[in-house]
């Protein structure tokens, strides 16, 4: 039985547990709230708030997620009180002397982080804002100042924007959650980078993934369970094409929920996994859902909920509900909603999910044949302005205008409009990368254009200062030197300067990083997660200068070679 109360003005849910006491303080702020130029700021606050507990001998943790940031611990009452009071004290006075060190720790953490197989979907669905920001590296770290942090805490880590859960018999004595005063911050509105749905884009060759945004309700959760069973039966049991098959349901604060699913594939079976996946989704769209499947999923979920109630693990979700302005749901209410779900309800969710679907096809495959529209990966329009031809490749050019920048070449274009710009990454050597709201990027390497350095102040002046995202200095070896294309074989081109590292890997790395153009790179992280291969730079030796438009999803450099090759072969 969950009861609601207030602790220090913070709405609280209290419920029993079978284990030791567990408590958490949650704030309605997460990655989705971060402007791209400040990407990483919430995570940084979380780290700074926890710094003072570095060597505590009890179990505590902090987590930053898409919409929520929470601090939680399990143990004796006194430890819980000490931890939560301490977190609040730290939030009121962040240990700014730790800033440089914590930034380094976060960079290291990010390097070791692997992306989930469905993560790239958010980039393609939402672009470089709100729910799409989640997929980007913590680019904001370098430029985040103590003032930025104080402002962020003042806006989001407030009493009015917090909730507390306690799994235990009662509120522990001595809990003084002193937090600044603010206001409740609703979850951000969801941007869309998909003009048409159902849509598809191609990702790594070893996974098929899909997602859809639907209304948040029990029948949608049941549908995700039914979908997982259907995918498992088709792709694993019947055809033996996939090993890992998963579908999930994730509610969002605005009353929607994301249903996502993926299946892994051997590269040589990718077409078949896609085909089987498409067929399962089609059956769902047509409402070909078995009552027995619905019953099975409802029963499983009933069991999970009942168990979760017993050990207190429904409480965090109910605390999130409080912050989202949703009523706390008792177990009986949750079970009643679940048991009321009919086969037709699930079929209705399936149809609307299909209509909203975004499919990530494996490798070089497409899904236009199955009725999915290609998600945009380049720009239809080029800015009016001055053209700066590349010193390396006459077919490539940067166009800089009053309203935006474009890169053109190879018959396609990437354009970022200054008034629809999510961030401009700025390196001390003058390199710039403009990231549009739609996720399209334009990179500018001043060394690769005639008088390129003279253009920088003009570009900088046209972008709102808060979008400027300072980046750490690059190694000299990473700053490109123009290497014109050899005009004719009888007139040998000047030898390409050796990079410091030398050798093939070095040269390729140079190419990738020096490329004046922008990378469109979908789901490289997935490639790595699944294949556990992290050396794609080394394997990218076929990367050719020339193409151009990359739509960068993930960290620069990592796996770019693979992505370029993939694009070029489309």
């Amino acid at each position: 039985m969950i009861t609601q109360l207030e602790v220090g003005g913070i709405p609280t849910v209290l419920g029993p547990t079978t284990g030791p006491m567990h408590a958490g303080l949650v704030f309605r702020v997460g990655f989705a709230d971060e402007p791209l130029a400040k990407r990483g700021i919430t995570h940084l606050v979380e780290h700074l708030a926890l710094h003072s507990f570095g060597v505590a001998d009890y179990h505590y943790n902090g987590a930053t997620s898409v919409e929520y940031t929470f601090f939680h611990t399990r143990g004796a009452e006194a430890d819980i009180v000490k931890f939560l009071n301490g977190v609040c004290a730290a939030l009121n006075d962040l240990p700014m002397h730790r800033l440089t060190t914590e930034k380094e720790i976060l960079r290291t953490e990010e390097n070791g982080r692997s992306e989930g197989p469905t993560e790239a979907l958010a980039l393609w669905r939402h672009g470089a804002r709100d729910y799409g920001v989640v997929t980007y590296p913590e680019w904001g770290l370098s430029g985040i100042t103590p003032d930025d942090l104080r402002a962020w805490v003042g806006r989001y880590f407030t009493r009015q924007n917090a909730a507390l859960w306690i799994a235990g018999p009662a509120v522990p004595a001595g809990l003084q959650l002193t937090l600044p005063t603010g206001r409740r911050m609703p979850a951000p509105a969801q941007s869309s980078a998909l003009p048409v749905r159902p849509a598809y884009f191609s990702g790594p060759s070893n996974v098929v993934a899909w997602d859809a945004v639907v209304r948040r309700e029990a029948r949608a959760a049941v549908f995700s369970g039914v979908l997982e069973r259907a995918l498992f039966r088709s792709l694993r049991q019947e055809s033996g094409l996939s090993y890992t098959v998963h579908a999930g349901y994730e509610p969002r604060g605005d009353g929607s929920a994301v249903i996502s699913a993926f299946a892994d594939a051997l590269p040589e079976k990718q077409g078949a996994v896609l085909g089987g996946f498409v067929d399962v989704l089609a059956s769902a769209r047509l409402g070909l859902i078995d009552q027995a499947e619905v019953t099975t999923v409802v029963n499983q979920r009933t069991e999970e909920l009942t168990h979760a109630e017993e050990n207190g693990s429904r409480l965090p979700g109910q605390a999130f509900n409080l912050l989202a302005g949703r009523p706390v749901q008792s177990l009986d209410e949750a079970l009643a909603e679940l048991r009321a779900v009919t086969r037709d309800d699930v079929a209705a969710v399936a149809a609307s999910a299909f209509a909203d679907g975004l499919l990530m096809t494996p490798g070089l495959t497409s899904a236009d044949w199955a009725g999915y529209t290609a998600a945009p990966n380049s720009s239809d329009v080029v800015v009016q302005g001055t053209t700066y031809p590349s010193l390396e490749d006459p077919a490539l050019a940067l166009i800089a205008g009053e309203s935006g920048v474009s890169v053109v070449g190879d018959g396609s274009a990437a354009t970022v409009w200054f008034d629809q710009c999510a961030a401009v990454l700025a390196w001390p050597d003058g390199a710039r990368r403009f990231v549009g709201h739609d996720g399209i990027q334009v990179s500018f390497e001043p060394t690769l254009f005639m008088n390129g350095h003279a253009l920088i102040p003009a570009l900088d002046a046209r972008v709102r200062p808060e979008l400027r995202t300072p980046m750490p200095p690059r190694d000299a070896a990473r700053i490109p030197i123009p290497r014109p294309k050899p005009p004719q074989e009888h007139q040998p081109a000047p030898a390409a300067p050796e990079t410091e590292s030398g050798g093939t890997a070095g040269a390729v790395l140079g190419l990738v990083v020096l490329s004046p153009i922008l990378l469109f790179f979908g789901l490289i992280g997935v490639v790595m997660l699944i294949s556990a291969v992290a050396d794609s730079e080394d394997t990218g030796s076929e990367v050719i200068l020339g193409l151009s438009f990359l739509f960068v999803a993930v960290a620069c450099g990592f796996g770019v070679g693979k992505a370029i090759r993939k694009l070029r072969n489309r």
Partner: protein, 318 residues
């Protein structure tokens, strides 16, 4: 007196002459009588049903009619299969059967548009009717045209065999896909043909798979010498005769689905093998009936080709 001695002069390529039910289905379609079409299709054997669907898929004006049938009953598998097969056929006529290098960009674009339309009908058809062999046969064909890859073609074929283990119309489609001109290799073609023929009951038309595998292989040769070299291989010859023993020369070989196609393919092979006796027996069994394929591999004027071969086989000069 053997009927062959009458030396038929006409070559009849209309498949309705070999399979009279086709006329009844054509007539029912012409009067847009779907219940009658269904009665005919539902009473046919599995392979015959797919054969009937393929035989009438060229009829014009089918799309509007069948879309209306499907609007009334989206789960009508026969209508899905026929509409899908029809749309594939329209697309393939635009593409033509030429090798890819002789097909224009515009032709390919239109071809793929029609195949995508077909595929979307067939996706739903397969969802509603996962055990309909005609739907899966059409989907093996569309997968080939849409270049969805060998793995997906195999998946579709596996779904077909789950519905009907020896479904020759679909096997012939997969055999095409396995050819090097599409996505496979000669090893895959011959292995598939041998396995499929070995698994299917003797006396059926399935031996044609081995005949077709060799026909595809021999016509892939660059010149006549290479063709002759291929056919001179003892193993090739032996395999062809074994396949004939298991099908067209088997005492159980009847006049069910695929009989004329099997005879027509073996007749061509026997001619290429210069086996006049075997060719004569085969042409005799065919009477004046024949099929366009595989004689169109020799020349566009299929009737002349067949007449000449038959004349030679039955004792005249080639």
């Amino acid at each position: 007196m053997l009927p062959a001695m009458s030396q038929p002069t006409d070559v009849v390529l209309d498949s309705a002459a070999a399979y009279p039910e086709i006329n009844a289905l054509r007539a029912a379609l012409a009067r847009r009588d779907w219940p009658a079409c269904r009665t005919l299709l539902d009473s046919a054997g599995s392979m015959e049903r797919t054969g009937l669907i393929r035989a009438v898929c060229e009829d014009e004006g089918l799309e509007g009619f069948l879309r209306a049938v499907l609007a009334a009953d989206p789960a009508d598998g026969a209508a899905s299969a026929l509409l899908g097969t029809h749309l594939i056929d329209v697309g393939w006529k635009i593409r033509t059967g030429a090798r890819a290098q002789y097909v224009s960009r515009e032709q390919f674009a239109a071809f793929h548009d029609w195949l995508r339309k077909a595929e979307q009908v067939l996706i739903d058809g397969a969802a509603y009717n996962p055990k309909d062999p005609a739907v899966w046969t059409a989907r093996i064909t569309s997968a080939r045209g849409l270049q969805l890859g060998l793995a997906e073609s195999r998946r579709r074929y596996d779904r077909l065999t789950a519905a009907d283990p020896y479904h020759l119309p679909g096997q012939l489609q997969l055999l095409q896909m396995l050819c090097p001109k599409w996505d496979g290799s000669w090893e895959q073609v011959h292995e598939f043909a041998r396995d499929a023929v070995g698994a299917a009951p003797a006396g059926g038309p399935h031996g044609v798979l081995i005949a077709e595998a060799h026909i595809e292989h021999v016509f892939d040769a660059d010149n006549r010498a290479e063709m002759m070299g291929y056919l001179a291989n003892e193993q090739v010859r032996a395999e062809i005769y074994q396949a004939a023993q298991r099908s067209i020369w088997h005492p159980g070989f009847g006049r069910g689905y695929g009989w004329i196609e099997a005879l027509s393919s073996f007749a061509l092979l026997f001619m290429l093998l210069d086996d006049q006796r075997a060719a004569a027996a085969t042409f005799t069994a065919m009477g004046n009936l024949a099929t366009r394929h595989p004689w169109d591999y020799l020349a566009d004027d299929v009737v002349t080709q067949i007449q000449q071969a038959r004349t030679w086989a039955l004792g005249g000069k080639r």
